[in-house]
Symmetry: C2
């Protein structure tokens, strides 16, 4: 049972930045009661008349919420066009139609949704966000606020300006979403990297960093904000589950830290990867929504009895990135300041986007959206499996349990090939057995959420290792691969603290996204990758 | 003829703020050539597959660009429903339809427009903005940049962070758009008010302020940025024409000022107001687009041979506020920094909005959009005329030429009523002649652009003038009017420097918007206004 409301004894207002505190509440604040009064004639706002909106209606054809299947399908995995046909046969698209005028106040209509409107979002979407948050994330207190924003990147930017002053540090994973760091740096706010293991941000390291914080040595006060992508972490793909989250939350209570939970990949949680041989029968997702929800890693909100979590949800990965739409869930004090910030910057999210997403959600209803999410998860699992299967086909992969480092506690695959083995252009085949001439070239742990596979390269096995630093080797390989027609994400761009990238054993990664490419292209890409990699490790000219 | 390109001798980069300078260029900057390469397989970005966008298509029914007439119509002016019928009979709506996939690269399709995309906007819209800017604003140099943004309020916020450091001042009109000031204050950037006259920001006062700037007395360095709404100024409705703009631009060259031109009302430029008796024949707008464009007050861009203008255009007043879409026009150096800022905040404008607005514009084409704008201008002129006609009907209005103050050089109406005159509840009629018992209650100049009438109240004629300060009287009247069912914009909220609002002769205004209310409601509102005003000026109990 959640608390009825946040205890008044918990005051988090000391976390508000100077910029945030200085934001002005509308001078009409005390007069709001007049603005909603029935029958009142307002000549106050600079609103165009909706007759002049040049759209009589907008709409679209929406896929059915069950357009995608809940089962993995082997046949289809290499044929991307299969899905179009399949989804076409699954059921008819539903036409959405939103007129300019509607008689009922609750109905979507362009006269309202394309007009100036509240920065916190149109009422229909606010209601959807609130109900969904309630049902899925189950926050630990009842009087939390949900409020629309224009995507998690902007949401994070607003959180930074709300919470942080120049000269402060923000705790982040050692490898993290680059834009989150790029947003802070111009304001003189730096990332404070915390090591990762297979369960996400390490709680033991977090405690050490905070308890041993030396302000003068660090050149900044002890951080009071943490940025985290806890599910399908960008770039490592790691997911933080309940036990670790609870540990981290408790440390944040102890050291008075605000947790900003940027969670775009939440609904891309997948079953553990099994090699093709072991992948026999699949357990379909639970048809009971509550049970399905309970199997997902919980949000930090579930533990948040003190209101110190700012959660960022987005439709970018579940509907489309172009929605530029998502929502904050946080305590009312922070929410009020975030809303003031939106009013003088982005204002309301785009009315076209709000209308169409709200219309889709009202059509699907909450059950339909959950059905959609269940299938989406399967789609990404299928893509992940396909990609890793191709690595299996192209490399000799050995599985072991990691005991140290980023993947501690996780199953890790080590990819190797035999020097001088040329049976098949650049490709290690079964015939090419593993022995002393074998070179381990990269390792990875199959992600259980998100869009990314994070490859750790073993540049220590590269002939030029003693001549070139790993960061140069990383870039050289990136360019060699790009020249051959395949783009990976270079690992160094995800370093929370790029100045610390000289540490040799920490550098040499690539982030591979299996979310977007066609299956046939993924197959081709892995083949090219294998070929370029073999040349790269055998070429002493680098 | 515009200059081919900005002279390299003009370096404006010293205007960039510390925050802006510290913004990071993508670490992949030097590697961009690979990203657009035909046939390359990208596994770099965290892009969802477009098959998973749950829209097969979006669309809408667009009004014809000539849905509204070019002539003022007396008959229709009080019947808002007339227009719906009229526009319905004018021509059929055009169906817009944007599919998920398109075979041609140039065609709009959701697979691209709802995907992650450039912060500067989808190519189709960038092209439209560039062509339109070229045709209509005719910038004085050729290599300017146009780049989409998410509305002028956000555009201004980004300009502030790009140009200003904490502790600086920004030149603004003495009465100005409140959000523009509210955005700056949290960053320690203050408005430096410049007096207005009937032509906008006074160039003589501007020169005095800049030439006599005393840094220690003012507590800040001489401003290097000016914020201006030059057409249908918010809140005063004043428009700055070519001669004054040239004067101001030259002063800005002399004192090295960047001009941020926030111009949402540009296409709501109207003919001068004539009283109903004088309004006989109407000259229809020129059918020649070039001629029509040449009759509009030019943008500051027309004079901008040094690249010191950042122009903000928006679709908010010409399509709908919910578009949250507009564009910057400025020099390439500022544009690059603004783009970096968008990348880590709002990112691209909403894909739904970009798609539908682009689709509308591609359907209308530039000529159609101009036809739409010509009619829109007439619509707002009709609304303005209607509102002022109602003031004529309710008050005794005397016309004179203002020689001092905000309306210097403009025709000004003074509204009066006779104390103790009660022939018709609260309303001055013909029978109520003007004599020594006459009280002048407010003055205004009919705007020639925009959405607002700015009333100056003569609180010196109020019985409580010696007891209450004008700001209190302003608020008391606002509440009395609100209690009676009408909302105006209280003038004090538009003061650039609210701390200076104690000057008695400067305070006591209301901003009335004639843009949104139904005609019948405007009529009713003026009647209520007259009644409340009369009671207010006769009531000594305030």
């Amino acid at each position: 049972m959640p608390q009825e409301k946040l205890s008044d004894a918990i005051d988090l207002s000391h976390h508000l930045s100077h910029v945030s505190q200085a934001r002005i509440t509308s001078p009409l604040k005390g007069l709001q009661k007049y603005f909603g009064k029935p029958g009142i004639i307002s000549l106050a706002g600079g609103l165009p008349h909706p007759d002049y909106f040049p759209f009589s209606s907008i709409g679209g054809d929406a896929l059915a919420s069950d357009a995608f299947p809940l089962e993995l399908s082997k046949e289809s995995s290499t044929l991307s066009w299969f899905w179009s046909i399949f989804s076409g046969s699954k059921g008819k698209d539903t036409p959405l139609h939103i007129p300019k005028y509607a008689s009922r106040n609750d109905d979507l209509c362009l006269a309202r949704t394309l007009q100036y409107s509240m920065a916190s979002g149109i009422p229909q979407l606010q209601k959807i966000a609130k109900e969904f948050t309630d049902k899925v994330y189950k926050p630990a207190y009842a009087n939390y606020t949900t409020m629309m924003h224009v995507g998690n990147t902007d949401g994070w930017g607003k959180a930074v300006l709300t919470l942080c002053n120049p000269g402060e540090g923000v705790l982040t994973a050692e490898w993290t979403y680059p834009s989150a760091v790029s947003m802070m740096l111009p304001y003189g706010i730096k990332a404070v990297p915390v090591p990762l293991d297979g369960h996400g941000i390490r709680s033991d390291d977090l405690r050490v960093i905070l308890s041993q914080w030396n302000e003068s040595a660090r050149g900044m006060p002890r951080p009071h904000v943490m940025y985290t992508v806890p599910v399908g972490q960008n770039p490592t793909g790691i997911t933080t589950h309940a036990a670790r989250k609870k540990e981290i939350y408790d440390i944040c209570v102890e050291f008075d830290i605000i947790i900003v939970e940027d969670d775009p990949y939440y609904f891309l949680q997948q079953d553990p990867y099994l090699s093709p041989a072991d992948r026999t029968t699949q357990v379909p997702p639970s048809s009971d929504d509550e049970e399905w929800i309970s199997q997902l890693a919980p949000s930090y909100l579930r533990f948040d009895y003190q209101g110190r979590v700012v959660r960022l949800d987005t439709f970018s990965k579940t509907v489309a990135p172009g929605c530029r739409l998502g929502w904050f869930t946080c305590n009312p004090v922070f929410a009020e300041r975030l809303e003031r910030q939106s009013e003088t910057t982005s204002q309301a999210p785009c009315g076209f986007g709000q209308t169409l997403v709200a219309s889709l959600m009202l059509n699907w209803r909450c059950e339909g959206y959950i059905r959609w999410l269940k299938a989406l998860r399967v789609q990404y699992q299928q893509r992940r499996d396909f990609f890793i299967d191709r690595l299996h086909a192209q490399f000799h992969l050995e599985l072991s349990q990691a005991t140290v480092g980023v993947w501690e506690g996780c199953p890790v695959y080590h990819a190797s090939f035999r020097r001088g083995c040329h049976e098949q252009a650049g490709v290690v085949t079964e015939k090419c057995s593993v022995d002393n001439n074998t070179v381990t070239v990269f390792s990875f742990t199959p992600p259980t959420a998100g869009m990314y596979i994070w490859l750790k390269f073993h540049f220590e096995n590269h002939p030029s290792y003693n001549v070139l630093d790993p960061q140069s080797l990383e870039m050289k390989f990136w360019i060699a691969l790009a020249e051959a027609g395949v783009l990976f994400g270079p690992g160094s761009m995800f370093a929370a603290d790029k100045t610390a990238n000289e540490r040799r054993d920490d550098v040499g990664h690539f982030r591979i996204s299996f979310s977007n490419a066609e299956y046939s292209d993924m197959k081709k890409a892995v083949s090219i990758f294998a070929s370029v990699l073999k040349s790269f490790y055998e070429d002493v000219s680098y």
